[in-house]
């Protein structure tokens, strides 16, 4: 079965919806934890289930290199390989075009990379990306795109956006996995007419869902919000909308307010490994001396495993000593924080008070105690 989206309710532009997947029905808006290399760093599937995770991400480029899509296919697909009994979305490798390739490595046919592992020359095409994803057997495959850097000239953004649309068509033509949905990705940089053009042309190709890409690449918040606004009005109401690479607590609210259904970001796990935790009163750094004798949990009202069992003093000790358990405990808290935020967002939409919820959340998060 391919994924099916059902819009349940609007609260202004915010949307409450349902995603039917091969692994159960999940409500949107949702936050998707990132498991680039077929694991959410330091965590087991059981820990993710306990956090009420739904879809998680994995990355086509990384799994193509290691262990290789054929190994994953032989294992019975990504779910069996990594033992995750829930829906998985695979990113196409498009973000790695942005982060690993140079402009001159991008040609009509595809993208030359130097492997980030051994420097070996690699060539990834829209067709190959989709074929790899077919083999990985994720629930949602993403079209291969170029994530345009910021800032980029209008000329470059136009050329790249048009190419991404051609790549999307090529990818769809070879897509061949009846259990896998395929999403298109809207690009266009910061330019209103290019975002509009990209949205209209990508929707014409007819995908199972639409992502807004090219955000969180160095632009300011107002520009990011505009990138969403420029495109989202041209997306169909009956398909899910996914804002790629966004996971700041406030940005989740701003995305939902604009009609986004799905988010992903490495932020909660990356921050965790550096000793940082989300709280309703803003981000804190556990390395701070003031937590040395703080025998309270990170957040008193948090329902995560970490907050139910450990103090800031203990987590600070682990982080200070580079003990991996510290990053693991903070990853649990940070991911649960974002998933819980989404649960409360959905509740607010149900109750028709999303706007009030958003304002209160942001005020507390920005101003602290």
């Amino acid at each position: 079965m391919k994924l099916k989206y059902e819009l349940i309710k609007n609260d202004q532009s915010a949307r409450l919806g349902k995603l039917k997947t091969n692994y159960g029905v999940y409500e949107t808006p949702m936050f998707m934890p990132v498991g680039t290399l077929a694991n959410v760093k330091t965590l087991t599937p059981e820990e993710l289930y306990e956090m009420n995770s739904a879809i998680i991400l994995a990355n086509t480029y990384h799994l193509w290199l290691r262990p290789g899509e054929d190994i994953v296919a032989k294992a019975g697909g990504l779910h069996k390989f990594m033992n995750y009994n829930g829906p998985i979305l695979t990113d196409s490798g498009g973000f790695q075009v942005f982060s690993l390739a140079r402009k001159k490595d991008i040609i009509e046919e595809g993208v030359f990379f130097k492997s980030h592992i051994d420097g070996k020359k690699l060539f990834l095409t829209p067709e190959l990306s989709i074929q790899i994803q077919n083999k990985l057997d994720s629930d949602i495959a993403m079209s291969f795109d170029e994530c345009i850097p910021y800032p980029a000239s209008y000329e470059y953004a136009k050329e790249s956006t048009e190419r991404t649309i051609r790549w999307a068509k090529r990818g769809k033509d070879v897509h061949n996995n009846s259990n896998q949905a395929l999403f298109g990705i809207i690009q266009g940089g910061e330019y209103e007419d290019l975002r509009k053009y990209s949205a209209l042309e990508t929707v014409k190709i007819d995908f199972d869902g639409y992502a807004i890409g090219g955000t969180s690449v160095g632009e300011d918040k107002q520009t990011m919000y505009k990138m969403i606004d420029y495109a989202i009005k041209y997306l169909p109401n009956d398909k899910p909308r996914y804002l790629m690479g966004v996971g700041e607590p406030i940005d989740l609210l701003e995305g939902v307010a604009r009609g986004i259904d799905m988010f992903d970001c490495v932020l909660p796990t990356r921050l965790a490994r550096h000793g940082n935790a989300f709280t309703r009163n803003g981000r804190i750094n556990l390395k701070n001396l003031k937590y040395k004798e703080d025998f309270n949990p990170i957040e008193n009202n948090c329902d995560c495993y970490t907050c139910k069992n450990y103090t800031k003093s203990y987590i600070r000790h682990l982080i200070t000593c580079d003990e991996m358990l510290g990053g693991r405990l903070l990853s649990i808290h940070n991911i649960r924080f974002l998933i819980k935020e989404m649960e409360e967002i959905r509740e607010a939409i149900k109750n028709g008070n999303f706007k009030e919820f958003k304002e209160q959340f942001i005020s507390k998060y920005k101003n602290g105690d």
Copy 2:
């Protein structure tokens, strides 16, 4: 309550016993996982309980430096600080005399260290070690000793062994925690008369248990077994005997055969972080190419979380990519392997067939499939 030992049954020199602790009754012989810095690296207490762990270790020297014994005491002791609801043994810092100090840094009063963290000069004495352990509030404290290097001259070993006995007396004199047992440590290097002398003198001081120290410091196996033989016959039957720093599967059997009740070692977790796993057919390295498409668990009959849920191919992928989950999954397997081995050893002693069990285990372990 202080720990109480009860000898249940002998099978030749092997002993089946019970340790009554403030956290329940546990059978011996037992393997104790090492949690140097108040955590067994990468693992939570729940994961240790699931492996049927009993006592775990923590280290006085390391916790003295970070976070400091006063922080742990303010948290309510080590159990509350690290959230471990089972018995804890603290090593005295004596092994760090071996691994971090030089001979000339050891004086009658105590030992000068350079902090392994910032190079700061530190001075640890037998009294201070015990006072720190009193504050940590572990269930078993260890006397402060010098772990003699191997090889060492007879003259040096004699001088050091005599000093360790004086240190043991000084430590016992200041010990002041009615919930905490205190163990003496037998030294004497490879010398029969020194081991005998150390055992007799240490037993005279009257401890709650006795450890054999100074093994696993570079000596060959036969020398290690002799170090046990020289001392153990002088230890009382009604007190537990602990062989420090030993955790090779075959050495556990050889220790039990000589009358040892308790073992500890960093080996299972250290091997795990380097991609190695214990199996009944010997040690394997998961980095080996032959596991790339091996979709079987590490061991088919293993009851650990890792073997019930993951393949060698997946674990190899995680280890190859330096994903911490790999080391975590292997730590679970390796610790459970040793705990399971001890369970089977106890069963064999109950059944009076320890000798046969030992021979079969060693034959399989040494010869592989």
